[in-house]
């Protein structure tokens, strides 16, 4: 094992040595530089692995005297890891900057090497003055590297940086001097024993030291200088500052944290949280990529600072939390900065350039998701553990702020991702990529992925996760070049096989929802055969969503559940954003999902208080704050079921999605929320705030959702939007049914879930087929298509009869049960709304079928063909099932009832053959089917016989007040179809909720804009911030 000191001797020696080479050969110097950093990295790595496998920490004494008399360095686990990261970043950054460095000459390589060296020393040293010296080396190194491009902006940034760090270093020096005076030593370990914090002056000295370190970490609001550096510097340097330098400084803070009392740690936490929230808030308003990354970096570092401050509460999980979040930040931020250097454009909207090289887009996505903390990236684990521990230790405010900060970060990161995927890129220059710039980015993406999986495998809680679906996704990614039909077959086979393997384990709700998710998934995938070409990137994403969905079914612990939830969110986000014009909708989907996920996380965290296991049934025995847990989780799940207030993402997202994606995200994805709610209600049972039953509120929410959704649907001009709002409404019924907590209520809800899956898939595929043929979604631009697409018409007809709940089809069953449930429960007023909604459903049902299929065929559609076979096939498969369930209702309802019986033993339906009996009424679906069918056939036969010679006429042969129609457009009554209704009740659908969210968003942006004005770019203001920060924190502490 090589002594850790050689990390320093090697790098520093090389730095001095290449000074000799001067103009001899730049290539050799560059090579030497990289070799030196690589060697240093190897040393760190060897120590890291050695210590991990049990070797003792290495201590390095200098000058032949033992500490505290001389300076000593320590190589422990943390040091090894951080130096490894630093040297890794150094190496990759070196590769990345190779061209620039060579261009700028040998001096820059020297500066770079010395900078890396100094960071290593900062991490390892145990002497505070030595720390100071090498911090100065690092500062000066950064001041030198910032001006790598020698631009005016970089120079200004560097100057600000110099002044700021100069002032901070001065304060640090005073702190060190007095620490030395009071403790009589400079060695950290000895200072710790000297317990100088027991008296005020001593603690002030330590305070000055710590506050300087914190200031080096760029706490909000005293960090304008740091952000300016991120913006002004070459992105390669930004990467180094954000990844390497910040890691080192964090470690210093961690190292020095042992010196301070707990009250200090709280302040550190507070500062960290403030920084996290503050800088993410300001990031929202940014349009400059590097500056945005700066805000994000500072935010992440703030979070890590807070974690350091929280160390006493995090216990054994501290290392996992800190390291996983740090590593995510490290790789992702470095990668992003490097990408920024490749893109060269600073405006976020110009990042649409990335589309020219799809693999860059993939990398970009990986980094964004890693930063936000999606699985399987390490920060996911870290955030999970952090929230759990915070909840455990009753740090609710911190928990809330962390989630808020993460959410704010999500806003701008996902907006950015959206820009890059969907923004117009007409006028952007071509993107050129050099090998040396791309390799580090790829490696850091691999790094963050690999480390995530590694963390997953070593962590106890994550050990039970199944990675097979993820491997399957990876496989699909590998075969992405193959044509659609191959991949589609592989995907269907994959899902089918998976369903086959897990089928025996499924029972009850899991079986039902498993079938909806997986069998439904296969069914909708069948429609995918109608696409031609390769459909790049589609299948891995679809499978990602299904992997998440199936994960929900299979989850036994809250962790697994949340893991699956996030996978599903990620997959569906990408599916949604694939649609045309779906940038903003995908963003709002993501933001609502993210907020929902955080609420779920918080809910799980609170639920976990006082529990030792993570099993899902801990929800059944929540120790404290049970109503709060319930509300958090319920709202979280309701973001997916798009209940009123949280629904605004849905219409756009579903309407703009691709033909076969719409059923997936509408018919299947929404059920994830339902499944979550069912799990929640099953486990937690009734919840009361005081004497108020929360479920009553849920019933109202469900009812209002139903009315709003259906009413909105009735006023839509866009067919897919209409269907999307109809989903909102239908999910309202389901929520309403669930809130009853009775046998019948749940029977209705679950059967409606199944039915909703069927008819919504049917309708979205049918309408999708039409849109595919006529190339518009505006209903009033269609009309008369029944003659061109009779098969599609039949499926839509059946679909709307089911939606409307008209007997004899299966939709009526749900309505009937709902009535009985209402009578049993007695919540009449929300029920009235639900029934009203049910009738409003007629409006949009009729409108859908009339304006599209009936009325006047348009000029341009005279030669439209029937929808593709592959779209019709799944429709007719579903149609068969619908007819089966309609004729034999107990084939659907009886198993569900049996499943519900153990949960709600009272009030079950009594079955006599196909006759269902409740306490109030009875219903025989089969007989109704026969009777109605019988009458229908008789009347039809008679009429047909009577009019067998009827003359077929064309569309303008109508009695039109003795005139003749002139244009199909003016003869087709379709636009604003329910105008009188709108006149009467339109006020109900005024976009209050959209306005609310819009103004909320504007408010946040306005605050963001106001807050960031404190960074006025003047170095004196920044210096003032720094000093004021010190004084204020001082006043708070003392």
């Amino acid at each position: 094992m090589i002594s850790p000191i050689h990390i320093i001797t090697l790098t520093l020696g090389t730095a001095f040595f290449i000074g000799l080479l001067k103009k001899l050969n730049l290539n050799i110097s560059a090579l030497l530089m990289l070799v030196a950093i690589a060697a240093a990295g190897t040393i760190s790595a060897s120590w890291f692995t050695a210590i991990l496998s049990g070797a003792a920490n290495a201590e390095v004494f200098t000058a032949g005297f033992n500490p505290p008399y001389s300076i000593n360095l320590l190589m422990g686990k943390g040091e090894a890891l951080i130096t490894l990261l630093i040297n890794l970043a150094g190496f990759l950054g070196g590769v990345y900057l190779l061209k620039s460095l060579k261009e700028r000459g040998i001096y820059t390589m020297i500066i770079y090497l010395v900078f890396i060296m100094s960071l290593n020393v900062i991490v390892m040293t145990r002497d505070i003055f030595n720390l100071f010296v090498f911090m100065e080396v690092a500062s000066i190194g950064i001041a030198g590297l910032v001006i790598l491009d020698k631009s005016s902006k970089a120079t200004q940034a560097g100057f600000k940086y110099l002044i700021a760090t100069g002032v901070i270093a001065g304060i640090l020096l005073i702190g060190i001097a007095f620490t030395y005076y009071f403790a009589g030593t400079l060695n950290i370990d000895v200072i710790q024993q000297a317990s100088i914090i027991n008296f005020k002056a001593g603690s002030i000295a330590v305070f000055l030291v710590i506050i300087s370190i914190i200031l080096e970490l760029k706490p909000f609001p005293a960090n304008g200088w740091g952000i300016d550096v991120y913006e002004g510097a070459n992105p390669g340097i930004g990467a180094m500052i954000s990844a390497a330098s910040a890691s080192a400084m964090l470690f210093v803070l961690y190292k020095l944290a042992v010196l301070v009392p707990e009250s200090f740690l709280q302040i550190i936490t507070a500062i960290g949280i403030l920084t996290f929230v503050g800088s993410n808030l300001m990031g929202i308003k940014q349009s400059n990529a590097n500056r945005l990354l700066g805000y994000s970096s500072i935010g992440q570092i703030g979070l890590l600072t807070a974690i350091v401050g929280l160390k006493p509460f995090l216990g054994a999980q501290f290392e996992l939390i800190a390291v996983s979040i740090l590593i995510s930040h490290f790789f992702a931020k470095a990668g992003l900065f490097w990408l920024s250097g490749i893109v060269k454009k600073q405006n976020l909207k110009d990042w649409a350039m990335l589309r020219q090289k799809p693999y860059l887009l993939v990398l970009f996505g990986i980094f964004i998701f890693a930063l936000i903390g999606f699985p399987p990236f390490p920060s996911f684990l870290g955030k999970w553990e952090l929230i759990m521990k915070l909840a455990h230790s009753h740090h609710f405010y911190i928990l809330a702020f962390i989630l808020i900060g993460s959410f704010l970060e999500g806003i701008y990161l996902f907006r950015w991702l959206g820009f890059s995927i969907k923004m117009e890129d007409a006028n952007l220059p071509p993107l050129t990529v050099h090998w040396n710039k791309i390799i580090p980015v790829v490696l850091s993406a691999l790094g963050v992925l690999g480390s995530g999986i590694y963390f997953g495998t070593i962590t106890e809680i994550a050990a039970s996760l199944k990675y097979i679906p993820l491997l399957f996704i990876a496989l699909l990614y590998v075969i992405d070049f193959l044509p659609v039909y191959v991949k589609n077959t592989v995907s269907i086979a994959g899902i089918g096989y998976y369903l086959y393997t897990i089928y025996p384990d499924l029972e009850g709700f899991k079986l039902i929802f498993g079938l909806i998710f997986l069998a439904g998934g296969m069914l909708t995938l069948v429609a995918g055969y109608f696409k031609t070409g390769t459909r790049k990137g589609f299948y891995p994403l679809v499978m990602l969503m299904f992997a998440g969905l199936v994960g929900l079914i299979e989850a036994h612990t809250t962790f697994e559940f949340f893991f699956a939830w996030e996978l599903m969110t990620a997959g569906s986000y990408f599916l949604i954003i694939r649609g045309k014009k779906s940038m903003t909708h995908a963003l709002s989907y993501m933001l609502f999902s993210l907020a929902g996920a955080y609420l779920i996380l918080a809910g799980f965290g609170l639920a976990h208080i006082g529990q030792s296991s993570y099993a899902l049934d801990i929800l059944a025995s929540v120790q404290s704050f049970a109503p709060l847990v319930f509300i958090l989780l319920a709202i979280g799940f309701m973001t997916k079921t798009a209940s009123v207030g949280l629904h605004i993402w849905l219409p756009g997202a579903h309407a703009e999605a691709e033909t076969d994606v719409s059923p997936m995200v509408s018919a299947i994805l929404l059920k994830a929320g339902v499944f979550g709610l069912i799990l929640l209600m099953l486990n937690m049972g009734s919840q009361f705030i005081g004497s108020f039953n929360i479920y009553y509120a849920l019933a109202w929410i469900g009812a209002i959702t139903a009315v709003m959704g259906n009413m909105m649907a009735a006023f839509q001009e866009d067919a897919k939007r209409l269907l999307a709002y109809s989903s909102v409404g239908f999910l309202g019924y389901i929520l309403f049914g669930l809130s009853f907590m009775s046998h019948l209520g749940w029977l209705a809800a679950v059967s409606l879930s199944v039915v909703h899956f069927m008819f919504k898939t049917l309708l979205f595929l049918a309408i999708g087929g039409i849109v595919y043929r006529v190339k518009t979604k505006e209903m009033y631009k269609m009309g008369g298509l029944i003659k061109k697409m009779p098969f599609t018409f039949i499926s839509v007809l059946m679909g709307i009869i089911v939606i409307a709940g008209v007997p004899p089809l299966t939709g009526f069953g749900g309505k009937w049960i709902l009535y009985n449930a209402v009578l049993e429960k007695g919540w009449f007023f929300p029920s009235a709304l639900v029934f009203f909604a049910g009738i409003v459903a007629f409006l949009y049902c009729f409108r859908l079928i009339h304006t599209v299929f009936l009325g006047q065929l348009k000029d341009e559609h005279r030669e439209v063909k029937e929808a593709p076979f592959w779209l019709l096939l799944p429709q007719y498969m579903i149609l068969m099932v619908i007819m089966l369930f309609s004729a034999l209702p107990n084939s659907l309802l009886k198993p569900i009832g049996a499943m519900l019986a153990p949960i709600f033993p009272e009030g079950a339906l009594e079955w006599q053959g196909q006759l269902a009996k409740s306490g109030f009424g009875y219903w025989n679906g089969q007989v109704i089917m026969y009777i109605v069918g019988g009458i229908f056939v008789v009347v039809f036969a008679w009429l047909w016989y009577m009019n067998r010679n009827a003359q077929k006429v064309k569309q303008f042969n109508i009695g039109y007040s003795a005139e003749r129609p002139s244009l199909p457009e003016t003869t087709h009554f379709a636009y604003n179809f329910f105008a009188p209704y709108k006149k009467a009740l339109g006020f109900l659908v005024s976009p209050l909720i959209t306005n609310f969210w819009d103004s909320a968003s504007e408010g946040v942006h306005a605050i963001s804009d106001k807050v960031r004005r404190i960074y006025n770019g003047n170095v004196q203001t920044y210096a003032f911030h720094i000093l004021a920060f010190i004084v204020v924190v001082y006043l708070i502490i003392f």
Binding site: P790, L797, I801, A804, G805, V806, P807, K815, W816, Y819, L823, G826, F828, F829, S831, A832, F835, F836, I839, V840, F842, L843, C845, I849, H850, L854, G855, Q856, L915, F920, G921, Y922, W923, N924, V927, I928, Y930, I931, V932, I935, F936, V939, L943, W944, N947, A950, Q951, K952, Q955, I958, G959, T971, H972, F973, F977, F978, P980, Y981, A984, L985
Partner: protein, 303 residues
């Protein structure tokens, strides 16, 4: 209850009686309307002649399959509605298929014909049909809400959704009718009934002069004949429904005739007195007056 061949015969009998009753009722009501206007009026059997004439038309045109099927839907809806109710309380013969479903089925089955008719009308391609449907559906949503609440109040009152049981509970003197035991629900439902019958002031759907009788504007000959049959059966079925719910049902045909006739007269009177509402006006009216009364009914039942 088993489903046997005799049920079909019984059902045919019921349909036959009600059809004739409906036609005669139609004629008589028109006659009464004429007499109010000091006219002699049509002959009481004029509806029969009209139907025969329509079937006797020699030519028919068709706009497409749905156009063809719409009357079928409509008549199926009417007959179905009738057959899913017990027409005469206590009579096995005239209980028909009421064993297949309860009040909820009946309420929802009304829409079967409405929807089918709307589809067929729209298939005709006539803008006036579509306008009529738009108006009709709008109005339906409005009056259906107080109706539903009123029905819920009644079901709550009798603790059942079984129409037979509801009627049974009202036996024993007219004071045990819902009319007297639950007046608010009755008022709400009877207001909704006005909308359901589609007579003035809620007849903007058909508006003969504005949108030549709206949805059925393109129907003729045999197709119109089927619709006319339904126009006889469907209101009669609705009358029977409301009679069963509110006025103690009927234990014999004469009782049925008297009660349904009187109920029908309620809508005739209102229609004679009040002029036509615009759709938005009628929607607002239903959602203000009858709905308030229905809510009062619910509150009274609940507390």
């Amino acid at each position: 209850m088993d489903f046997g061949f005799k049920h079909i015969l019984y059902a045919l009998l019921t349909v036959f009686i009600v059809l004739n009753y409906g036609l005669i009722l139609q004629g008589i009501v028109r006659k009464i309307g004429a007499r109010v206007g000091r006219r002699y009026g049509i002959r009481w059997y004029q509806p029969y002649i009209d139907i025969i004439k329509n079937y006797a038309k020699r030519s028919t045109i068709t706009h497409g399959v749905m156009f063809y099927i719409a009357p079928v839907f409509r008549l199926t809806g009417g007959i179905g509605l009738l057959l899913f109710m017990p027409v005469i309380f206590g009579s096995e013969i005239f209980s028909n298929f009421s064993f297949a479903g309860d009040l909820v089925l009946v309420l929802y089955f009304q829409f079967f014909g409405v929807l089918g008719m709307a589809l067929g009308a729209a298939e005709g391609g006539h803008p006036y049909s579509a306008i009529g449907v738009s108006r009709g559906l709008s109005q339906v949503t409005a009056f259906e809400l107080p109706l539903t609440l009123g029905v819920l109040a009644i079901a709550m009152q009798y603790q059942t959704l079984n129409i037979t049981e509801i009627v049974a509970a009202q036996q024993g003197g007219f004071l045990s009718w819902t009319l007297f035991t639950n007046p608010f629900a009755t008022i709400a439902i009877m207001f909704s009934f006005l909308g359901a019958m589609g007579r003035s002031p809620f007849d903007v759907v058909l508006a003969p002069q504005e949108i030549p009788i709206g949805p059925p504007t393109e129907f003729h000959s045999g197709l119109l004949g089927v619709l006319q049959l339904n126009r006889a059966i469907f209101p009669a079925a609705k009358l029977i429904l409301f009679m069963n719910l509110l006025f103690g049902g009927a234990t014999s045909w004469p009782e049925l005739v008297v009660k349904t006739f009187l109920i029908y007269m309620w809508s005739v009177f209102v229609g004679t007195v009040f002029p036509r509402f615009r759709v938005d006006q009628s929607v607002r009216w239903f959602l203000v007056v009858p709905l308030t009364i229905a809510i009062i009914a619910i509150i009274l039942i609940r507390f």
